[in-house]
Amino acid sequence: MKSILTVKDLNISFNTYAGEVKAIRGVNFDLKKGETLAIVGESGSGKSVTTKSIMRLLPKSNSEIKKGSQILFDGRNLADLSDKEMQKIRGRDISMIFQDPMTSLNPTMKIGKQIAEPLIKHQKFSKKQAMERALELLKLVGLPQPERRIKQYPHQFSGGQRQRIVIAIALACNPQVLIADEPTTALDVTIQAQILDLMKNLQKKIDTSIIFITHDLGVVANVADRVAVMYGGRIVEVGTVDEIFYNPQHPYTWGLISSMPSIDANDDELFVIPGSPPDLLNPPKGDAFAVRNRYAMAIDMEEEPPMFQVSETHYAATWLLHPDAPKVEPPEAVKRRQRKTPGVYNTKGEE
């Protein structure tokens, strides 16, 4: 399948009072046409920074995309584009949905106008055309009584409704790439499911590629085709959703999966990954995860692991995959999953 967006050797730093924080340290991934790529990881792992950098939305005053970073889209490196060129891409080719629908709409602008804005800007619609299209979009995202509500202000909508409006704004110009930054985290569980369903349906209708950021593995299983796991500013494992869920290789992914509640687990206690994320002001030598990793080896303290290939689509950055490394037993929860689907990792399930 054709890649629509390729990120190569992305390095991003933030300049703070305390010094340079290396938030993203050599991230590589690609997004294929029509797929949903989930990026998972704990807070501070760099998933939001990565996607904000694709949109070039990071504050210029204190952040820096390092030289040599490549964000290839449509034959161009977004990292090198001028602000003017970037404004033409934002909202038209790549658009974004944010985490908190309560704060992501302009409180003093009617929602119709907010949806119409990118249409007038990028598609050169007239005001009237734009409002008609806005109405269509509101119907598309399933907002009840769109004719009446198009003239209302954001505070007159519930959280779920607002997220539908934000989605309508993002989809206004039929973007090729949609970045969803934890779009359901701030919502109630029942509303979460509705929004996820909506996004899945819309993706089929308008054929857009989605980067879906989340820390919730349950959501990942529901929406993603492929998964990239981030830790400490790097991608530590990437593969299809089945490979990641049923045959994970990286100890951090093991930890994530073991800490997921599951119906058939009979453990009384939920697994937690000990410790806290690394300090990216002074990134540790070797593997950033080593100090929290019970499977750590001497080499983890010295050398950063490279990406080892597991299958055509599955890679993981852990020394455990080195031929010289001892065979270790993954945790019980992971083994249980591996037993359930022996061998078949690169085809999708019933989804």
Binding site: Q87, S104, L105, T108, H155
Partner: protein, 309 residues
């Protein structure tokens, strides 16, 4: 909305009643008779004067009479300018004070807002530091000090503008500037904070994600949202302008209410002190009320309710 407005008006009247009563009794506590200050009067002359102005009656009776008159729009007659009604004295002097206050308020808030917006959009550049420094100066230098320095350097030394008095627009420029520095600094500081706050909000990121230019982001999305709360400083600014006008009118010898108030304090002209107090209190309360209503009109999020808020 209607219910809320009525409730507020009721509340305003109660506040006003308390202020007037409090001021009245406080004034009665001031030692010294207003008639002894100017000239030496014999006891019998004093008694005649007291009887003439009804000051020989018990204070509660005087109070009731006064309140009755106030309700009919009668603020009594001045002791100093014998037999001139206070309302007439005040209305003669309202013109210069209102002109000055409005000029200072309009110029001050607009200039302050512009400074604040520039500072926020060019955060941490020399423009930001410059405007912040101006704001600190404006907030720190007392208006009468600034007025006196302006008068000395601009009018006396350079001769660019008239030194004092009230004979036309050019006479109002220096006093207006002197009064305006406080509104400028308050509006600039407030605007900068609000604007930075708004510029950091999620909906601004979303606007940028839609492809809006920095200009559109700043003026279409951020400015309106940042401007709304600035309305709230108008109340305190009014109070500050009243205070400022007292001394600025003094410095520039402007025949306004402030100057008259200061004089009436010096000669203990009770009816004028009371009349001006009522005027200031009413003005202050009404402006705060207008600000609240205005706020609810320009901010779609606020819907006034009848309950306590």
């Amino acid at each position: 909305m209607g219910k809320y407005v009525l409730q507020r008006i009721g509340y305003m009247l109660i506040t006003l009643f308390i202020i007037v009563s409090l001021s009245y009794f406080l004034m009665k506590l001031i030692p010294g008779s207003p008639f002894s200050a100017a000239e030496k009067l014999t006891d019998s002359q004093l008694a005649i004067m007291n009887a003439k102005y009804g000051l020989d009656q018990p204070v509660p009776i005087q109070y009731l009479k006064y309140m009755g008159n106030v309700l009919q729009g009668d603020l009594g007659v001045s002791f100093q300018f014998s037999n001139t009604p206070v309302t007439e004295l005040i209305s003669q002097r309202v013109g210069p004070s209102v002109t000055l206050g409005l000029q200072a308020m309009i110029f001050g808030t607009i200039f302050g807002i512009v400074l604040g917006v520039i500072a926020a959009l060019r955060q941490n550049t020399w423009m930001d530091y410059g405007s912040t420094f101006l704001a600190i100066l404006g907030k720190s230098i007392p208006s009468f000090v600034f007025a006196a320095l302006l008068q000395y350097f601009i009018a006396v030394k350079l001769g660019w503008l008239p030194v004092a008095f009230w004979r036309g627009f050019e006479y109002s420029i220096l006093p207006s500037i002197a009064l305006a520095i406080f509104p400028i600094s308050i509006a600039a500081r407030f605007m900068r904070t609000e604007m930075i706050d708004v510029l950091g909000s999620d909906y601004i990121t979303l606007a940028r994600a839609k492809g809006a230019t920095p200009f559109e982001v700043a003026f279409k999305h951020a400015l309106r949202n940042a401007l709304i709360p600035v309305v709230t400083v108008l109340g305190p600014l009014t109070a500050a302008l009243m205070t400022g006008s007292l001394v600025v009118e003094q410095v520039f010898a402007i025949p306004g209410i402030g100057e008259q108030f200061v004089t009436s304090i010096k000669v203990l002209d009770h009816p004028v002190i009371m009349g001006t107090t009522i005027l200031y209190a009413t003005l202050f309360i009404v402006i705060i009320f207008i600000v609240d209503i205005l706020y609810s009109i320009i901010d779609p999020r606020i819907r006034l309710s009848g309950g306590n808020n």
